[in-house]
Each structure stands twice: as C-alpha cells, then as structure tokens.
C-alpha cells in the first residue's frame, strides 16, 4: 500500500535537509531569509514559482554567513541522526552489531535490553495504530452470551418482524424477507415429495403467525351494517352468515372497497365471531388478513366504521425484572438488574403508533392485533391425532375465570368433545370451519423423550354416537368459547409462562427422572382450534387438504411448536402453502389475485424478479420468447386482453353499445359461476339454463370485462409452466382429437424475430427498455391474434399435480372469450382448450373446469 510506504519513507527522510530556494510565498519576506521547505522530491517541484517577489539586490557577507551556517546545521542534523534506525542499535559499536539482534533481544548487552524490548512492543503496536481505529469487537464468547444475543436479535427485528419460531426455522429453512416479515420459504433438505405425502396421508405443520388479525368490538347491528358495505352477497356468505354469526364456524369472505362491488376488490379474509355471552351485548369479531393487505383493509374499515381517533398507542417493551432461577456464576448486582427480554409481538411498530381506534358515532373499536396471537396450521388427515397427542386439557380449572357451575361445565364439555376427536378417522370428516375452544396444560410437561410419529388410535370406534354427532353437526356454539378472546387473559397467560430454564430446573428436581411434571395451576393456556375445510368447491377430491388451525397467545409459540414437531409432523414454508392452494384448486393470495392492488404489486415484483433471472443468463443461452411467439412471459397484460376481447366481440355482434374501458375484474358472483361451470361441462345432462346464444349474450352483458378462475387438466402429456397461454382450438384441432384420443396436439410455426433485425439495421442510441434480447419491448402488439390460435388467458399456477396424476394448471380466462369458445364447440367436446408453454411451440389439449 502506498500509504504505508510513503509513511516509512517520510520517517526515514525526515532528517534530510530540503531544497533551499527562493519561493514566492509571503512567508519568506516576513522572515527574511527564511528557507522554504519543498521536500526531497524526485524530479521537478510541484507548482510554478513566479518571481514576483523583490529579490534583494546585494547579498552581504552577513547573509552569506548566515546561509552557510544554516546549511551546516542542516547537514549536521542529517548526518548525525541515522535514518530510520533507533538509537538502541546505533549505540552499539559496529563490531558488536549482529543480524539476530532485531528479533531476539537476548543477544543485546543487559543495559540495552529493556530499551530494545520496549522498542519491540512499540513496533508490534505501531501497525495497528496506523490502521483506522476500528471498534474493538468483543470476543466470540462475549458476543454469544445469552443476554447479548437477545439484544442483537431484538435489534434485527426492528426492520423485519420475526415469527416466534424464527430461530427454529432459520436453522432448517431458506428464509425470505417480504411484507416486512422474515418468513421460511423452503426447507434446506430436499423434501417436496415427502411434504406432499405428509399433506396427503399424515400431517404437515406451518407457522402462519404472519397473518394479521384485526379485532372489531361493538354492537352487532352497527358492525354488520358497516361491514355489509365491504362485502357482497353475490360472492357467497358474508359476515352475517347464520352459521358464522353464532360463533360456531369460521367463515371466509372476499373484501371489496366500500360500495364498490364488483370493482375495487381488496382480497380474501377469514373471520371469526366470538360466541354470544349471555350478559354482554357487545360482540367481538376477528378478521384475519394477509399482511400485504393490511394497510388497505385497515383504512377501509376505518372509513366504514368511522373510527378515526386513536385511543391507545403502542409502548416500548420494558424489560421486566426477572430473577434467573439458578445462577451458574456470581455476577455483581448491577448486572442482574435489567436482564434483556425477548421481543414479543410487533417489533417494527414505532413507539407511539396507534393500535386502537374508536368511533364516537357507531361505538365500534378497531384494534390491531398483529403478532399478538400465534397461529399454527396443521394440514392432513391425521392432524387431529397429532393434536390429541400433544394437547392435554387442563386438569384443574382455575376458579378465577368461571364462578358458576355453567363455567365449569363448559370446560368439561370442551374436554369431552376433544376426547371424541380421537375417534374420528380423518380430519376431513368434520364439517368445515368448526371452532373448538380449549384450555390446556403446558405441552412441554409431556414432551416425549424421543421423536415419534403419531398414529391414529384404532381402539375407539367410530360408531360412537357422540362421534357421529360431531361429524354431522360440528361443535355447538357455546363450546367455541375461550378465554383467548380477552386481552387481559392473554397478557396474564403470557406473563405466567415458565421459562425453559425454570422447567429444566424442575425436571432435575424430580425424584423419578422422566416422569411427568406436575402442572402449575396458573399456567393453563386458553386456545382455539379452528377446523379448515380443504377443498370445498368442485367435484373431485373433496376435502383434500383439510386441517386444523391452532390459535395461541403470544409468547407460547415455541412451547407448542417443539412438542408438535416431536409428534412426527413435517414442517412446510411459504412454498408449501402455495402448493397446498394449488392442489386444492383455490387461488392463493397474492399470486392469483390480479385485480387486487396487493396482487398487482406482487405481479410487478414477480416480473422484476423473473426479468432479472432472465438477464443473468448469457444472451445466447436465453429462450427467445419472440421466436416462440410468447408476448408476456413475465407479466400478463390482463387489461389489454380484456379490451381486445371486447373489441372482437363488439365487432362480430355489431352492437353499438360502448364497450367498458374500465379496469378488469374477476368474476366472483356465485350464480354466474354456476352457470358457466354447467356450460363448460361436456355432459349432456339437462341443466337449468341451456346454452344458447341469447343466454350467453345475457351473461356476457352482465359480466363484462371480467376474468374467471378456471382449473385446467391436461388430457395427455405435458406439464404447464408459469404464464403458459390458454388458447382456443380450431375445429380441425378438435377433429384431430376425435380421430386419435392420444394425439399430442398442433404445433405453432416459429415466429420471426423482427426486433433483432431492427436492432441490427438501426445503430442509433437505443433506450434501455429495448435492450433485453428475446423479449418483446414495452408497447406490446395485439395480444389476441398474435399466435395461430386466439388467446384466452394465461396460467398463473401450473405444475405436474401429484394429487391428480397429470399436469394441472390454474388460469384466468376472459369470460367473453370463454363464452365465445363454448358456443362454437360441439356438445361432447365442450370445454376443451389448448395450452402452450412460453418456451415451447407445442400445444396440448386440456379440459376446463370451474369449481363452484
């Protein structure tokens, strides 16, 4: 490094005299014959010298003498002080100097030895001092002490929230930072098939605590009136559905902006009512939404309930004084005063951000319960077996909570129902969405010594009448009651949790090692078990992917996670939840919601990511999408598709009605979906409304510029990929299929790459948007007639489906295009379309089905 070399050189040359010349700076006139230092430089002096200064006319002898004297002194100084070397070694006469003196001080005479040692120390320290003063980091041991680690983790959670099971996941999963959370994406081990098998036959566990919970409190009529503006009856049961209103079932709705159905869709949400308490008139409602939606839904809710004044704000988490159970070594008191505590709850919220809003008119309170409740999802037919193995209902009922006989019996009833669960063969047998409240002991007390796999109990017979009642009617409303709904109860339970250290200490104090620990009376945990119906729409594989959701108060995450994992469940991440939705045939938020603002944001991000990946490959190894005729491999232009279909149909029908140029929507109204589903079926049974041009035109007018979510199943070979094109088969294609049921399908002729030729001819400056070779530049040409078959839509999720045994794709198709297709197809072959991957020229046959 030149810095060090220069410094060494300077150190050696500091005694050498410098050139003495006349310069033009003012200093020399002031000091008379002062010499200006210019340094021992090789070559020429830097900067020009102008002789503007008045040079003395005569040099007298005195000045000459002075100059000589000065020179002599300078020379003497240079001569007497040897360059660079210290006085220790020059103090020795020449015949006593040895080479080994510089590294071993023992060869020096004793009078010089201390000086030499000091010198050696200084030279050791000197290079460190010359470096930049780095903050001295503590030793690895100090950094990894528990308290310091906790502080470090708390600091890292300021930007991205950590789930309670973060550290467990971080050791075993690839993590992803999105939506201000750090979430597990995929296991590091190769386990796709094993996870699918677990979902199919045993149980799969996921940590879904990143879903945000918004709580509404108020009178029922006010709330229903406000919320009715956010949903529409046409999409299915709303917040006021009878089964859900009592609190016995969980429901799911699709939220829209206030009074803007069918446009302005926000996204899906799950909701849960608290069962009616006989004396209180206020009701509580929990709405669970995806974190990408949270800000939109919160602002809409505030608008609709008119809650704008913030009541309470979030406060800084103060470390509570906690004496550690057993101290391994003595520490001074000052150290143990404020032990750092793990950050529970939302760490990214700045202190002072409002968490609760109240409305003076409607008396509704909205609270933001993000990260207050831990949510685990168990998917699979043996999920209930895992739960019954892990959870044990509380042996003693704490008297503080229920004073009367009715309270005790609720807990007893809940326990009875929980025991009945063992007799159920599969989780799918229970009615979807039923809710069971429960109070359980700490599951760490009954942690097995070794990991095992929970198997169903074959002893209990399924002919028990209780079990039959359970499977037919579900859980009664009063058994869905739980103390989890009270904020005070939650806080108390979180606070009363035994730490791991305390638990281990108790284990060591047991007389018989390995026996079960006695439960602490205050540590009974209230929780909610919510059943998730799997696939509820459609006709095949019903109830695939059903499971249970476990809702816990915060702080108890790891206490329940480890016992669950010890029962032999597989753990999945975000990737697995996408696959779960895909196998169920349901849209997954935010991948499959192109009309919601969060979905559009997700699509832009996905486009950027795919483009980056594409650009990373060398240009000659990339797929040339232009030659394959694929206009939109990264992002689907839905708006353009809608507009072109409208134009096409308007031209053919010769109607003078103005086509709607508004934003596109996704068709969600159940009636229309049922009719479409019936029409796209090739069966010849009589449906309520037969397909004619008139009825089709009526439907089309009803839902203009909308997309519909369909499931495509490939007839033969082929695996659909992301953004594959769904196209209309021509009559010749259908006849080809009739002749040979196993034909592979037509092929697309290769397109010419005009852009490449254009780029080669024009050598002017190109804007960077056109720079990507092989992808169509920004203003896309007309989407519909680009390929030899008309485009209907694009696939958003496509893969080989392990559940179905063939390739399956989930796609969005324009409604007008679908009607146009179905009308032209013969009865037996209705609903057949062509599917083409973006990087291939082969069309494959597929069958549409719309699940209702």
């Amino acid at each position: 490094m030149t810095g060090a070399k220069d410094r060494m050189r300077e150190k050696k040359m500091k005694n050498q005299p410098r050139n003495v010349i006349y310069t033009s700076s003012g200093r020399s006139t002031g000091r008379g014959q002062g010499s200006q230092a210019c340094g021992w430089v090789r070559g020429h002096q830097p900067g020009g010298h102008s002789y503007s200064q008045d040079l003395p006319k005569y040099i007298t002898a005195s000045s000459f003498a002075k100059a000589r004297a000065a020179e002599v002194n300078a020379m003497l100084k240079a001569v007497s002080k040897p360059a660079g070397s210290c006085h220790i070694f020059t103090a020795l006469p020449k015949h006593m100097r040895r080479r080994a003196l510089s590294h071993s001080t023992k060869r020096l005479p004793s009078r010089l030895r201390e000086g030499a040692q000091r010198l050696a120390e200084r030279s050791q320290r000197a290079p460190e001092k010359e470096k930049k003063q780095e903050p001295r980091s503590r030793s690895r041991r100090a950094r990894r002490r528990h308290g310091n680690l906790l502080l470090e983790f708390n600091r890292r959670q300021r930007k991205n929230k950590w789930l309670e099971t973060h550290i467990w996941h971080a050791k075993r999963f690839h993590m992803l930072k999105t939506w201000s959370y750090c979430l597990p994406l995929k296991p590091t081990a190769k386990s796709f098939r094993a996870s699918y098998r677990a979902m199919n036959t045993h149980a799969l566990l996921q940590d879904l605590s990143y879903f945000c919970c918004l709580e509404l409190q108020g009178s029922e009529e006010e709330m229903l009136r406000a919320l009715a503006r956010l949903t529409s009856k046409q999409t299915g049961p709303t917040f006021a559905a009878a089964s859900c209103l009592s609190g016995a079932r969980q429901g799911s709705v699709h939220l829209y902006k206030a009074d803007q159905f069918p446009e302005g869709s926000l996204g899906p949400a799950d909701f849960l009512w608290r069962p009616r308490v006989p004396d209180a008139s206020d009701r509580q409602l929990w709405i669970w939404i995806h974190p990408a939606l949270k800000q939109d839904v919160l602002s809409e809710l505030q608008l609709v309930c008119q809650c704008f004044e913030a009541v309470s704000v979030s406060e800084e988490s103060r470390p509570a004084l906690e004496l550690p159970a057993g101290r391994k070594r003595k520490r001074d008191e000052a150290d143990a005063e404020q032990p750092s505590k793990r950050l529970l709850g939302d760490g990214t919220r700045p202190a002072g951000a409002p968490v609760r809003w109240q409305s003076p008119d409607t008396a509704i309170t909205i609270s933001d319960l993000t990260m207050e409740i831990v949510r685990y999802r168990l998917i699979g037919p043996l999920a209930h077996v895992v739960l019954t193995d892990t959870l044990h209902p509380a042996s003693e009922e704490p008297s503080s909570r229920s004073t009367d006989e009715a309270g005790v019996s609720v807990h007893q009833q809940q326990t009875d129902i929980f025991q009945l669960l063992r007799g159920v063969c599969s989780t799918a047998e229970l009615p979807a969405g039923c809710v069971l409240g429960l109070t359980v002991d700490d599951p760490r007390l009954t942690l097995p010594q070794k990991r095992g796999k929970s198997v169903p109990d074959l002893q209990q017979s399924a002919e028990d009448s209780g079990v039959r009642d359970l499977t037919l009617k579900g859980v009664a409303a009063h058994c869905s009651q739980s103390a989890l709904w009270d904020a005070s109860a939650r806080d108390r339970v979180t606070h009363n949790r035994l730490s791991e250290q305390e638990l281990n200490r108790r284990r060591t104090e047991l007389l018989v090692p390995g026996s079960r620990l006695s439960a602490a009376p205050q540590a009974a945990v209230p929780l909610l078990l919510v059943h998730q119906g799997g696939r509820v729409r459609g006709e095949e594989r019903l109830h695939w992917g059903s499971g249970w959701d476990l809702l816990l108060p915060k702080g108890w995450g790891m206490a329940f996670w480890v016992p669950l994992v010890y029962r032999g469940v597989r753990v999945g991440g975000l990737h697995m939840s996408v696959k779960h939705s895909q196998f169920m045939g349901q849209p997954h938020f935010p991948h499959d919601y192109p009309d919601c603002p969060a979905g559009q944001r997700f699509q832009s991000e996905q486009e950027a990511e795919l483009l980056q990946k594409f650009k990373r490959r060398p240009p000659s190894k990339r797929t040339n999408y232009i030659k394959h005729g694929c206009l939109a491999p990264f992002r689907c232009p839905w708006q353009q598709l809608m507009e072109e279909w409208e134009e096409l149909l308007n031209m053919s029908a010769e109607t003078t009605g103005s086509c709607r140029t508004g934003p596109f929507t996704v068709l969600r109204s159940l009636k229309a979906l049922r009719r479409l589903s019936a029409w796209s079926h090739p069966s010849s049974r009589r449906s309520s409304s037969a397909l004619t041009h008139a009825t089709a035109a009526a439907l089309q007018k009803e839902c203009r510029a909308s997309l519909v979510w369909v499931r495509l199943r490939l007839l033969g070979k082929g695996q659909p990929a992301l953004h594959a094109m769904v196209c209309i088969p021509t009559t010749s294609d259908l006849q080809l299929l009739l002749k040979d049921a196993h034909s592979s399908g037509p092929q697309e002729p290769q397109h010419k790459d005009h852009i490449k030729r254009l780029r080669q001819t024009t050598t002017g400056p190109e804007d960077p948007a056109r720079a990507v070779r092989g992808v169509y530049p920004a203003p896309l040409p007309s989407v519909l007639p680009h390929c030899s078959r008309l485009t209907l839509g694009w696939v958003t999720q496509g893969d080989f489906s392990l559940a179905a045994g063939c390739g399956e794709a989930l796609a969005f198709i324009s409604v007008s295009g679908l009607l146009h297709t179905i009308l032209q197809q013969p009865q037996e072959q209705r609903g057949l379309v062509l599917l083409r991957n973006p990087s291939s020229l082969q069309y494959r046959f597929a069958r549409i089905s719309i699940d209702v």
């Binding site: 006349y22 070559g43 005569y58 002898a61 000459f64 003498a65 000065a70 002599v72 300078a74 020379m75």
Partner: protein
C-alpha cells in the same frame, strides 16, 4: 546481491554577481546539464543522463548543488560540467560555472564534506569582513555552527533546533 552504486557530485555554482543566484532551481540545473551532456557526448550521453542523473539537493543561498549519477558514468557527467557557461531560467541568462567540490559514494559523505567546507569558508570569511557588524554576524554564525554541533553530539534526540533560521 547486485546493487546500483551511485556517485554524488557536490558542486558549487560560481557567479560573478551573487544576486543573480536567486533564480536557481533544480529544474534549471538539470536542464542545463542535460543540454551540456548532449552537446559534449551526443546521443549516448543523453541516454546515460536519462537513466540515473538527478539533482538531489540545491541551496540557492550558497549555490551548493548535489548531483547524483551512476557509478559507471559519473566521469562523463563530470566532464560535461566544465562546459556549462550559463544557466538559463525563464529567459534570464546567468553567467556562471560549476565547480565540483567533492565526489562521494553516499549522500552522507557529501554532507560531511559540506559541513567541513562550510566551516572553512566561514573561517576564511572572518578576516575579509569590512565592517564591524559583519564581523559580528560572521562570528555568531561560526559559533552557532560549532556549538550546536557539540550540543547535538551529546543529546540523543534533539528536535528543538530549527534549520538554524535566525531572524534579522
């Protein structure tokens, strides 16, 4: 181990008029010397000059110049010194000649010689002084040289002295 040995030529610039010495710069000396070598020894000389010649020290007050060159070719440079008749700087010509005082193998030996030489010069100046004030100045200068010499030899590290700047 092969090393580049050099020779240091300690020269003095002698001018009839001492006041014209002020325009001295090491670039001036260098360029003049290069021209002289070129005239005297041609292309061969210029090439040799290019390799290892540099002006190491220059004192415009006393006219002392220290030139360094390679050991193989110092005689060549030395011989060209005698051909320098004038120094040219920014259009002003100064008539002079370079007088070589000492040839040394290291800078240190040249410095030692310079000390001795300067002392001799000072001693020689003393009887030539015309006025009393001058004599006092010269005496003071001599004393400062010798006393500081003694002082320096006794102390280990003495950073207190400046370059002997004395203000009038």
């Amino acid at each position: 181990m092969v090393r580049f040995k050099s020779r240091y030529l300690l020269c003095e610039v002698c001018v009839p008029d001492r006041s014209s010495l002020q325009l001295l710069e090491d670039r001036t000396i260098y360029n003049t010397l290069r021209a002289a070598v070129n005239r005297a020894h041609g292309d061969y000389g210029s090439a040799l000059f290019n390799i290892g010649v540099i002006v190491k020290y220059l004192n415009a007050h006393t006219g002392v110049v220290l030139i360094r060159s390679r050991k193989k070719h110092y005689r060549l440079i030395w011989s060209a010194l005698s051909f320098i008749t004038c120094l040219e700087n920014r259009g002003q010509k100064v008539q002079c000649f370079l007088n070589c005082l000492h040839v040394g193998g290291t800078i240190r030996t040249c410095q030692k010689f310079l000390v001795k030489y300067n002392r001799q010069q000072l001693h020689r100046m003393l009887p030539d002084c015309k006025t009393d004030a001058e004599k006092q100045e010269v005496r003071r200068a001599i004393l400062s040289c010798s006393l500081s010499n003694v002082r320096e030899e006794e102390a280990d590290e003495d950073g207190s002295d400046d370059d002997g700047d004395e203000e009038t």
